[in-house]
């Protein structure tokens, strides 16, 4: 795979002083893929992106772009472009000058670069704003100018560092769809950094989940959600409903660590062949289209001695869902055995700290 991969990272590490920001990352990103790096802040995902762009030098390891080792090359000698979190548009240039900057420094003739910049602005539906200054644009417009400025160079890979982080929710949703469409149209490999799991699930072909400078799991959104391989991934992508220790033994009926997604748990009416347990509703969280029921189980406490709870997601369909609160009510929960995700394997392994040290 490494011959054809757009990006290959081999045992990539980066430390800042005593802080190990990135710790032995191996990754292959295929040509034309929409690839997301997902993780909490400080998990090393942005540092990996900055090393691919060339802004940071790795402490060890190699970076291959289309099979070529670019580890020691400066940013301007790599065929990648970046969309920055704060857009980093040049305030002293007009929008069109910003977009044609990459062509200008590559000595593309004036007429040619103007035409291509105008086309790129058209792609992001900002053709009419070319003469404005970045300061006169809204956040969403700046975001699109930044995208056009990167895309006009037709890079092999486009790196996006939380590009939607500064936008409000509605605009974010719109831009997500737009990004996906643009990526499909131009066919460039997108590497997208985000801490928003929903965004990653919506956009990506594949996702790498980062924690503590290491990749926890690389998988498609569906695989990641339905089959997380560790408690961290289960918890970071969606609500994990983790069951451990005595609670797991009582509820699942086996030793180990398990997770059941909230929407897979039935409340009140339990289907045929389901395993059931009982508990008391502690909290009902109204989400508009659905409700979250947090249920304290009758089961013994979990592995760390905490009260065992399960969160249940249920669509707002039934009359009883519309009652102000079912708090304190005794309920029966049920789920099908195939919806129990077994995380015991990852828990049984030693902590990855020792593994790579």
């Amino acid at each position: 795979m490494s011959e054809t991969a757009a990006i290959s990272l081999r045992d990539l590490s980066k430390s800042f002083g005593t802080v190990q920001a990135v710790d032995g990352v191996d990754l292959d990103i295929a040509d034309g893929e929409f690839f997301s790096m997902l993780g909490p802040s400080g998990s090393g995902k942005t540092t990996v992106l900055r090393m691919i762009a060339g802004f940071e030098q790795p402490t060890s390891g190699t970076i291959l772009l289309a099979g070529e080792d670019v580890t020691g090359r400066p940013p301007f000698a790599r065929d990648v472009n970046t969309v920055f979190q704060d857009y980093a548009l040049f305030p002293h240039m007009s929008v069109i000058e910003n977009v044609e900057y990459g062509l200008r420094v590559k000595k593309v003739g004036k007429g040619d670069r103007r035409r291509r910049a105008a086309e790129a602005l058209e792609t992001v539906r900002l053709g009419h704003l070319g003469s404005r200054r970045p300061g006169q644009l809204s956040g969403g417009q700046r975001q699109r100018v930044a995208l056009a400025r990167a895309l006009v160079n037709r890079p092999k890979v486009l790196l996006l560092d939380e590009p939607l982080g500064a936008l409000d929710l509605k605009l974010r949703r719109e831009m997500q769809i737009e990004l996906k469409e643009i990526q499909r149209d131009v066919g460039i490999t997108f590497v997208f950094v985000t801490h928003d799991q929903e965004e990653a699930l919506t956009l990506s072909d594949r996702i790498a989940v980062f924690n503590d400078g290491r990749i926890q799991q690389v998988a498609s959104p569906r695989e990641l959600y339905e089959g997380p391989q560790s408690a961290f991934v289960a918890g970071f992508v969606g609500t994990s409903n983790l069951l451990t220790g005595p609670a797991a033994r009582a509820v699942v009926g086996r030793e180990g660590t398990f997770s059941i997604r909230p929407e897979k748990i039935h409340l009140d009416a339990v289907p045929e062949g389901a395993r059931t347990t009982e508990g008391v509703v502690r909290e009902v969280v109204y989400l508009g289209s659905a409700n979250h029921y947090v249920v304290d189980l009758d089961a013994p406490p979990d592995g760390s001695g905490d009260q065992a709870t399960l969160t249940v997601l249920r669509q707002n369909l039934n009359a009883e869902d519309n009652r102000v609160s079912r708090r304190g009510e005794r309920v029966r929960l049920g789920w099908l055995p195939e919806h129990v995700i077994d995380l015991s394997a990852s828990e049984a392994q030693p902590a990855p700290m020792e593994e790579t040290a």
Partner: protein, 270 residues
């Protein structure tokens, strides 16, 4: 913040008094430059422009003015180049001794002029064996003029951040292209403000100049100081002083305008 009526009146009175103490003597100089009396009796016995005429034709004053302008121009150019380079190095790169170098660059502006003057004179004549000349004044002035450029540039670089430069490199521009197309345009107004201040600093410097000026090099402040106690030259000196007051307003006003940039955020003053 709202202030009571009394507090506002008090503040206005204090402000007025302070401004009066500063500007009344300056106004007197201006008025006296037209006073017919050579001993500046008050009230003026009559008004004349003959002192302005005499000053205009005074070879000593003209030479001194020309020399001062030259010194200030050279000192400012040196400061702009070195100050910008130092600011970029200290603001964009991390290296051992960074804070110490930063302190050492700023220190000369705080040092008493007499100390700088003596130290430089010693270094030039005793250690380096150079005779004092026009260039020794320029170098001496540059030591403290750098600070104003440096401070302005550092403040601007800190505010702009390194992101724009990273974006430029990401888009394929090398280090020098990035400086030319991105860093310098961002710095331009800060450098102009710093340069004007450094020009003004050099132009009116007298203490360090006294110690580092060569025999034939008399800057305007030195000329004024030498001539102000000669009774027949006093009115001419007064005219030169009056002219300088008017001229100094220009660079300071410009510097103040320029250090407030597009977004209306003032950069740090030196």
């Amino acid at each position: 913040m709202t202030l009571s009526r009394n507090a506002r009146l008090l503040l206005a009175a204090v402000t007025g008094l302070v401004l009066l103490v500063i500007y009344l003597p300056l106004g007197l100089v201006l008025v006296n430059s037209f006073n017919t009396s050579t001993s500046f009796t008050w009230p003026p016995s009559g008004f004349t422009t003959k002192w302005w005429d005499a000053a205009w034709h005074s070879a000593g004053a003209r030479d001194a003015l020309a020399l001062s302008l030259e010194v200030a121009a050279f000192a400012t150019v040196i400061s702009l180049v070195l100050g910008t380079m130092a600011a970029l190095a200290l603001q964009r790169y991390r290296f051992f001794g960074r804070d110490a170098v930063s302190l050492l660059i700023i220190l000369p502006i705080a040092l008493p002029g007499i100390v700088t003057g003596i130290a430089l004179q010693n270094a030039f004549t005793k250690i380096l064996g150079i005779s004092l000349s026009f260039w020794t004044i320029v170098i001496a002035h540059a030591t403290f003029c750098i600070v104003t450029v440096f401070n302005n540039a550092v403040a601007r670089l800190r505010r702009v951040g390194g992101n724009l430069e990273e974006a430029s490199m990401d888009l394929g521009a090398g280090t020098f292209t990035t400086f030319r197309l991105v860093t310098f345009p961002m710095l331009r107004s800060a450098l102009l403000a710093g340069g004007l201040l450094s020009f003004a600093l050099s132009f009116d410097e007298i203490i360090v100049t006294t110690f580092t000026a060569g025999a034939g090099s008399q800057t305007l402040p030195l000329w004024i100081f030498e001539n102000m106690f000669r009774p027949n030259q006093a009115p001419v000196v007064n005219v030169v002083a009056a002219a300088l007051i008017v001229l100094s307003i220009v660079p300071i006003w410009l510097a103040q305008r320029l250090s407030v940039d597009d977004e209306g955020l003032p950069t740090a003053a030196p």
